[in-house]
């Protein structure tokens, strides 16, 4: 706080007050949809359309949540989303970091050309590979399985690129010292490179997780049964079935958003810093 006041102030305080008010009004507008969602999720059908708008329903109808959970297997959707996101994120981080390690530290024939190819794939929009990927999954007999949801998302050229840049900032002398002591490449990767790259890995993992958790188009295509649906899909299905029962729909929405908010509050620092460095450009 103190340091911010030591900066030269170029604008009069009144002007700053106006800016602050605008910021506040803007953030109210940003939050209003959420507030209204929460409020509606606790209303009885009769309370939904009343004017002036009632923000705090009296009494709050907690029953809506119980009803939503009983008619839609949100528990299952949750478990699916969590399982898929955790598996895919873990795989993605491990696979990308191994490849990044190879690109950053190992010498092999055609390494730089291969790396250029990796970068080139970043330009290809997902829509181009969508249909063939679907056909491949079907040919593997993976349609409507967890493998279909997890495996294709586990290979990230972007992650490889990002982590390679990180790994290259680690002094190579550390590797050389370990090599003299007879350490294998895998040992160096796991005991030296990975621990020293924790901030980069955490940021990448959070964005990977958010991307997997919010993924919609791919699960929509490769799953068909209720048991395989992830949270966004389940919510979308719920919407088409209960299209006018806004209180129930909003309760479902709150259920779907809540864990994300939790993750965001916990990882807020990393997420905002990661965004500032341009990470989620390809993910969100």
């Amino acid at each position: 706080m103190l340091s911010s006041f030591s900066k030269p102030k170029l604008s009069p305080p009144l002007w700053q007050l106006v800016v602050w008010m605008l910021l506040a009004v803007g953030s109210i507008f940003m939050m209003m949809p959420f507030a209204w969602t929460l409020s509606t999720s606790l209303k009885s059908p009769g309370q939904i359309f009343t004017y002036p708008i009632v923000w705090i329903p009296d009494p709050p109808v907690w029953e809506n949540y119980r009803q939503v959970i009983s008619i839609v297997p949100f528990g299952r959707f949750y478990a699916n989303s969590l399982f898929v996101a955790i598996c895919a994120t873990t795989l993605e981080v491990v696979i990308a970091s191994l490849a990044a390690f190879a690109f950053a530290r190992m010498r092999f024939w055609g390494r730089d050309q291969l790396f250029m190819l990796y970068l080139a794939t970043l330009m290809i929009p997902g829509q181009v590979t969508l249909i063939p990927s679907f056909l491949i999954i079907r040919a593997f007999g993976w349609y409507d399985t967890y493998q279909a949801l997890i495996v294709p998302g586990a290979f990230s050229a972007f992650g490889t690129f990002l982590l390679r840049q990180h790994f290259r900032t680690i002094p190579i002398e550390l590797d050389e010292a370990a090599q003299l002591d007879g350490a294998s490449s895998i040992w160096i990767w796991w005991r030296i490179i990975m621990p020293l790259s924790t901030p980069g890995l955490v940021t990448f993992a959070i964005f990977s997780f958010l991307g997997q958790w919010n993924s919609f188009l791919w699960p929509l295509i490769v799953t068909s049964s209720m048991e395989m649906r992830t949270l966004p899909l389940g919510l979308s299905m719920f919407q088409s079935q209960y299209s006018v029962q806004w209180n129930l729909l909003m309760a479902g929405t709150v259920i779907a958003i809540a864990p994300l908010l939790l993750i965001f509050i916990i990882g807020q620092r990393w997420i905002i810093r990661g965004t500032a460095s341009g990470i989620p450009a390809t993910r969100l």
Binding site: L98, I124, F155
Partner: protein
């Protein structure tokens, strides 16, 4: 290394080639594929009115979303950069929509824009009654024009914080001494903005511009949930058209051709911008 490479070959490299091959066939996944050459491509531009409409829609979304989002996020970033009290809280609030699942966000806005129960209609009706203005609130989601506006509003609300945070990081990296020197030379705040701030963040501006344009080309979830692409095809995007062609009508060849046209459009657009940027982007180190 090997798993990564195998994965990229199976799920990226091979599909790219496979997709190109499929796009030359007429294939509904049941009957045997029939080779049609470039017919899938030529028919898009000559006969396919829906493709032309969804391309137009996507373009409309692009030219409305990108400039508005860029202008507002620069302004917001400048405001946040003043480091007024509560800035950390504001930053978090503006960022929350970015991490919200698109399905949930679109669902919330579907409710907001609802003709009968939506908060927007309620507020507008109230204003109308109070000042007896002779208009009726639009049926947002069932009107060809207003439904586009609704999609734009949702997209802006959701992505606004993302570009703001990147701009903010760029603003914070400008050396404070530059402003001090300019102030000594008598430059006012307005001149400082045009002569220091904008040039210093121009590489970020270019980056965000490209990212937003590519994002707009690939718009899908927003309109797919909010309006299902309707009314008619009024808000359908190119990506939703790919989805519909492939997984509702099982026209795999045509869908692949659309995907390639989209890729080509993004590619050409980005190349053009890459050449144009040399005239307005300032790189401190003199690279590129």
């Amino acid at each position: 290394m090997i798993p990564s490479l195998a994965g990229l070959v199976v799920f990226t490299a091979f599909p790219v080639i496979f997709s190109l091959v499929i796009s030359l066939f007429d294939w509904n996944m049941i009957a045997a594929p029939r080779f049609v050459g470039f017919d899938n491509y030529t028919s898009l531009f000559t006969r396919d009115r829906i493709f032309q409409e969804v391309s137009w829609n996507t373009l409309v979304f692009l030219v409305s979303i990108v400039p508005i989002q860029m202008t507002f996020s620069i302004m917001l970033a400048l405001a946040l950069n003043l480091r007024l009290p509560g800035t950390a809280v504001f930053r978090v609030i503006y960022y929350i929509p970015v991490i919200t699942t698109i399905v949930a966000a679109a669902l919330i806005f579907q409710f907001i824009f609802d003709r009968n129960y939506g908060i927007l209609s309620a507020v507008i009706w109230n204003l109308i009654e109070r000042w007896s203005i002779p208009i009726t609130p639009p049926d947002w989601l069932n009107h060809p024009g207003w439904s586009k506006v609704a999609v734009v509003i949702l997209t802006l609300w959701k992505n606004f914080g993302f570009s703001t945070i990147i701009f903010l990081a760029a603003l914070q990296s400008i050396p404070q001494e530059m402003y001090e020197a300019a102030a000594i030379d008598g430059a006012n705040v307005w001149q400082q903005f045009w002569k220091i701030t904008l040039p210093m963040i121009s590489s970020t501006t270019f980056f965000i511009f490209i990212i937003l344009c590519i994002g707009a080309f690939q718009l899908f979830g927003e309109s797919f949930i909010l309006t299902r692409g309707g009314p008619g095809y009024a808000t359908m995007t190119i990506v939703q058209y790919i989805y519909q062609s492939a997984f509702e009508f099982f026209r795999m060849g045509r869908a692949s051709a659309v995907a390639w046209v989209l890729f080509a459009a993004i590619f050409v657009f980005t190349i053009i911008q890459w050449h144009v940027q040399r005239h307005w982007v300032y790189y401190e180190t003199g690279e590129r």
